[in-house]
């Protein structure tokens, strides 16, 4: 598991798995799209707009997951002085931002037919919007601070502080009575969703994960190259 | 008292200078010479513990400067290559602020004298922004008298001054060194100031 913290090991591993991951993600995407558009049923309440779910939910999950991993890496980088954590933060933040954006856009597209408006100020939507802004701030910090050492530390601290927002996103639907769907799929007990909808959802989720990994590999590699001068 | 040993400074992985040795002892006047960009300002700032050296060490009264810098500051006046007086305020306000800030034990008469020798006495109620370049610079030298410290670290004190003022600086320097003060200053030419050491960067 050393490749998770060591740049050169990571490079070796990345060369090894990049192509399979890419191919897998393409295949999964093709199957997933096929399922979600043709092979899954309309919802009896929501009609065919339910198909937005197959984009919305995976992207939402990944947005959260990405941030959670960034938090872990920030802790590692700050507490255990593992520079790979800084590299990871810089490389992955834009990916998380894109997932969040997809989640928000698909959510609003879904919200128009369901709730009658693009946007309401309920706790989940608001906290996701804040998540998006946090991602953007991280990206801009990475772009604009000149002193690298300070920049990396500041960003890592910011990621840590911002992680307070994660549980708010996740549990806001349980804590407050909101418009947004409470957890139906990711409940710890038996998910209350029909298997015919579950299958494409799972496939799409894996497709998103694979795409995310592929892009992350590319970005981390460039990030490593740009720091060659002082990474051993 | 201040001893600089084998000092090297890097900035953004570029060596600015290497292995500088110098010492400031009571009564000596050191001139720092060198081309533009050779690192004079950098050296002075490193001596003030503002810039971290990449190698070498600086000692003040036998201890590492890093551990002891507030004591060093207590004995040091630094005048940078830019002026620090507040442009929006009058000369008087600036002088008052300095006097209070540095808890100076200089009395009014001495200040007046100094202003007179610097030929700034007519400008007391003028905003610093409307002084001429050289006058602003001379105003800055008032801090040498107000702070009344032993070690003077001056960055290009002589540029932009007219001959009279340079003559005045010369005397001030000699006076200070005869009172066991020590001076290090950077300059591109030396218009006849007596120096005990010359360092070429």
């Amino acid at each position: 598991m050393k490749f998770l913290v060591n740049p050169s090991k990571f490079n070796e591993m990345a060369d090894y798995i990049f192509k399979p991951v890419l191919i897998l993600s393409i295949i999964l995407f093709a199957i997933g799209l096929l399922f979600s558009f043709y092979l899954s049923p309309d919802d009896y309440q929501q009609g065919s707009s339910v198909r937005i779910m197959y984009v919305h939910v995976p992207s939402a999950w990944l947005a959260l997951l990405t941030y959670a991993i960034m938090t872990l890496y920030s802790i590692m980088a700050l507490a255990f002085r593992i520079p790979f954590g800084f590299i990871f933060n810089t490389a992955v933040a834009p990916i998380g931002a894109v997932f969040t954006l997809i989640c928000i856009i698909s959510g609003s597209l879904w919200g128009k037919p369901m709730w009658g408006t693009w946007w309401v100020w309920d706790a989940r939507l608001t906290s996701v919007a804040i998540l998006f802004i946090i991602y953007l701030i991280i990206i801009f910090m990475n772009l604009s601070f000149e002193n690298r050492i300070v920049r990396e530390k500041v960003v890592a601290i910011f990621v840590l502080v911002g992680s307070v927002n994660l549980p708010i996103v996740k549990f806001s639907v349980d804590w407050w009575n909101t418009l947004h769907q409470p957890a139906t799929i990711s409940k710890l007990s038996k998910p209350s969703i029909d298997p015919s909808m579950m299958t494409p959802l799972i496939i799409m989720t894996f497709a998103f994960i694979m795409i995310g990994i592929a892009i992350a590999i590319l970005r981390i590699k460039t990030e490593i190259i740009s720091r060659k001068s002082y990474l051993s | 008292m201040l001893i600089v040993k084998d000092l090297s400074v890097e900035r953004i992985n570029k060596k600015i200078f290497e292995n500088i040795n110098l010492s400031l002892t009571p009564g000596n006047i050191t001139i720092l010479k060198g081309k533009n960009g050779s690192g004079k300002t950098t050296l002075l700032k490193t001596m003030l513990n503002i810039i971290e050296p990449s190698a070498g060490s600086i000692f003040w009264k036998g201890k590492l400067l890093k551990r002891n810098f507030y004591d060093f500051y207590n004995h040091t006046t630094y005048i940078a290559d830019t002026t620090s007086s507040l442009k929006k305020l009058t000369v008087k306000d600036n002088v008052n602020i300095w006097r209070k800030f540095f808890i100076s034990n200089i009395n009014d008469a001495q200040i007046e004298m100094a202003l007179k020798t610097l030929k700034l006495d007519n400008y007391l109620n003028k905003k610093v922004a409307t002084l001429s370049f050289g006058e602003t610079k001379k105003l800055e030298f008032l801090r040498l008298i107000i702070e009344n410290k032993k070690v003077w670290i001056l960055d290009e004190p002589l540029s932009n001054l007219d001959e009279d003022s340079i003559e005045l600086m010369k005397q001030t320097f000699e006076d200070h060194s005869s009172k066991e003060g020590s001076i290090i200053f950077s300059s591109h030419q030396n218009p006849g100031i007596y120096v005990t050491e010359e360092i070429e960067l």
Binding site: I134, I137, F145, E146 | A80, S84, K88, I103
Partner: protein, 223 residues
Amino acid sequence: MNFLNKIIFFYYREYKLNMSGAQDILTNIIFFFVSIFIFIFSIGPDKQTISIIGVGILWTLLLLSSTLSLRKFYQDDFENGNLIIMHLNGLSFGFIAILKTFSHFIFVQIPFLLSIPIACILLNIANDKLFYLFASFGIGSLILSCLGSISSSMNLMNQRNFLLGSVIIMIFSVPIIIFSVGIINMEESFNSLINILFGILLIVFAINPWASGLCLKLSLENN
């Protein structure tokens, strides 16, 4: 004694500086009142709505106006070398940060606090809430000053993107604002809630000299 004197004269200096730039303070206050007028006019004469959202508006304007003055926080002293002089005069960077934070509080936030009573009249906020407002605003604005100090000292290392600092502060102040606006409407449990706000103040107050001081040191080193 010596040290106390230094502190006093630090503020003498700040006073002189701020008074010579009095138009900046005035601009802030004008901005404050113009914005209140904007709201009153956009809402129309419906007193009910105005008094409901009044406190919220006051808080937002407080926040925005303190971001307004962020640019001045350290920039001038940094550029003309006064930061170095203060440090050489025996004040550690962290301590400079504390002094500056209070100076910001005194010369930027206090004028605001003083204009709150008038704003309350305009916004139809009941008189008996004034005390709660003052208490929570006083603490809140000190928190904002601390956050402002941190972000603007960070900005010294980031000459490119001045607004980023403001955005960061604003994100951090979201919970504070939600919380403080809530406080005023819960008069029974006011005391315990204000203690929490006070706790937040203590935290940022403890972080401030450390974080700002580090940033100041590094930015001077790289200048």
